[in-house]
Amino acid sequence: MSKKTILTSALLLTSLNAFTPNISLNTDMSYATKNIANSEFGHLEIPAIIHGLGGHSHGGEEASAMNEDGFNLNYVELGLSADVDQLFSLTSFFHISEESIAVEEAFFTTNKLGFNTKLKGGKFRSSFGRINEKHHHTYDFAEIPLVYHGFLGSEGLIEKGLQLQKTFDLPQYLMAGVEVFAGENENSFGTGNIQAVNAEEDDIAVKGNDSPNLIVGYVKTAYDLSEDTTILGGLSVASGEHRIDHLEDEHPHALSGDTTIVGIDLSMKKYFDSYSYLSFESEILYRELDGKKYEYADAAQDSFASADLNKKQAGFYANLVYAFDKNYKIGARYEGFFKNEVNGIDKEDDLYKTSLMVEYAPSEFSKIRLQYNNNRALYNEDEERQNLHSFILQFNLSIGAHAAHAY
């Protein structure tokens, strides 16, 4: 190669580098051990809230995999982002498991509309509540809170649609947003037809609903008690129709009707210096599903019998985390469900889980966490409560672009 060619290719490389999007890769691995075997664990359920934590799942593999005995590769998250042009920036995250790759998020953002607004569109994490828009690797505990897992799935509410958000020019922080979504979430919404497996092709019991099927609204505020202490509060509502299809289950059934989820969050964070802080985060979610439940009329599985179904359920979580410095953190979480009413009858509502964790972060890009869980919310198929004790040793490592921290 001549000197000139080398120089040209070097220049080309530099200009290519300048336009290469920010690339980041996050890998989450764990070793878990528990007092209930994997085979049994897959059949456990939280009555009337989650069927089967293992085998049967609605995109729930991630959280349950984390609980599988032995070594787990929980996920690999690939992030690509850059400014598209003077108007848009584009952010995408690919969720990679051992067998497959999925577009977890791909959305544009623009703040060119003025009036202190931000517009977002594509597939993205809803800003419902406090924890929903956070990525798994930024959680203080290994798993998403039970109430989110129960109402929105182990990944939370990630949907296709649009978001418009505005921050108001007031003495205190006040932000409000509206989201319009397809509403495909399999735990509380859903858009598909409900049709018996052996029914005629055009014999659809319940027609699917049109997109957009889900509207989310939220208001968030923050108040600085002092330079270093802030209280945050929020109110969120998600409302849409549901089509929940469990016809492939051991006990086939399907639901259709309306769902409303209301969330209230309250958090407080106090910093002692640049690195040490005490944080309290809590959310309460209330869900009402109102509609009909369909079960096969007979063994032919070609027609349904339906009955009214109304579920009123509520759950919560509360996290307390103390960071000693930039390397060490400890935390405790208490969570569960305190209301579980089906057709006016109270079902099991004494469903609680306690977690304790200690975390060591050698740098900003790696962390090692040991977590203990005691889950008393799980029941086996004979409706007997199972007392789950588990330990998770988790490794989370990031390379590439350095993402900014969320508050």
């Binding site: 003077q86 270093d228 964070k269 210096d273 930039k326 390397n327 740098s363």
Partner: protein, 289 residues
């Protein structure tokens, strides 16, 4: 009536002050030297905290809502906290590509640009060392960069800004002479610091930075590494630790107990009684007396 209204709007526009938001207190002082009371200045960070890790609390978004210009240090010093605040403020005036955003690092020749960029060497900045404000000779180009931009955004005050900047630069040049004379007499020709925060200052005045208390940028020292520091201090007869104001002092205190080395708490930015750039350099220089 209509004419009156237009007149009222025009005059309110004419009297509306430019809203300047800056990331760090030292930038606020540079702006203040140029503008006096002709603009509103808001600061996001406080000067007593780690500038890499400013807590992005929501109230900082409020400060950005009506900003006409955002002036940042740049060179990735704000990477961990600034961008989400700007995005959420929904104020396109201060977007990266607009005239209302100024990255000061673009006007400075950065030192210590890493040849090999790997995080095995800690949380390195690809652009070079971002703590350039601590070279007093950088104050002039920084002032001129801010002046140039403010002139375009607030042309009616541009003559005043030029006068203010000129008189600040000339008075600061006199201060530099004082610093040079004092630093030439210092007995601390070699020092240890916690993080490479003061390298621009040290380089300017020919002071040797023998070691950092953190083994790599952003990495907490291990006990083994601290023992190594003790032997370096003894071997090379080092007499001064520049301890920044935001890292824990316990390692420095341990080193001092073991070797008798002096600890000088050294600010990197304005806070408390350090209310101006001059006072910032006065304090640092005093630590070398």
């Amino acid at each position: 009536m209509k004419k009156l209204l237009i007149l009222a709007i025009l005059s309110s526009l004419a009297f509306a002050k430019l809203n300047v938001v800056v990331t760090y207190p030292y930038i606020a002082d540079l702006v203040d030297n140029i503008t006096g009371d002709k603009v509103n200045i808001k600061v996001l960070a406080t000067g007593d905290r780690d500038p890499h890790h400013i807590v992005p609390k929501p109230s900082l978004i409020l400060k950005l809502l009506k900003a006409d210009i955002l002036i940042s240090n740049g060179a990735s010093l704000e990477t961990a906290w600034l961008e989400p605040l700007v995005t959420n403020a929904g104020n396109s005036k201060i977007n990266k590509n607009s005239n209302g955003f100024l990255d000061l690092s673009q006007n400075i020749k950065l030192i210590e640009k890493p040849v090999n960029i790997t995080r095995a060497n800690g949380d390195v900045h690809a652009e070079g060392n971002p703590h350039f404000v601590l070279d007093p000779y950088n104050i002039k180009p920084l002032t001129l960069a801010i002046l140039a931009r403010l002139k375009t955004l607030d042309p009616k005050n541009s003559d005043l800004f030029v006068d203010n900047a000129t008189s600040f630069i000339s008075s600061f040049e006199k201060k530099i002479k004082v610093y040079e004379s004092k630093m030439s007499k210092t007995k601390y020709k070699s020092i240890i610091q916690y993080h490479p925060s003061f390298n621009y200052f040290l380089k300017r005045f020919g002071i040797k930075n023998v070691a950092n208390i953190e083994p790599l940028p952003g990495v907490t020292p291990s006990s083994k590494y601290i023992l190594k520091l003790i032997s370096i201090i003894k071997e090379k007869n080092i007499k001064l630790i520049l301890q920044d104001v935001y890292h824990k002092k316990d390692t420095a205190e341990f080193l001092s107990k073991k070797t008798g080395i002096k600890i000088a708490s050294t600010p990197h930015d304005l806070y408390g009684n350090i209310t101006s750039i001059e006072k910032l350099f006065d304090t640092i220089v005093r630590n070398f007396e």
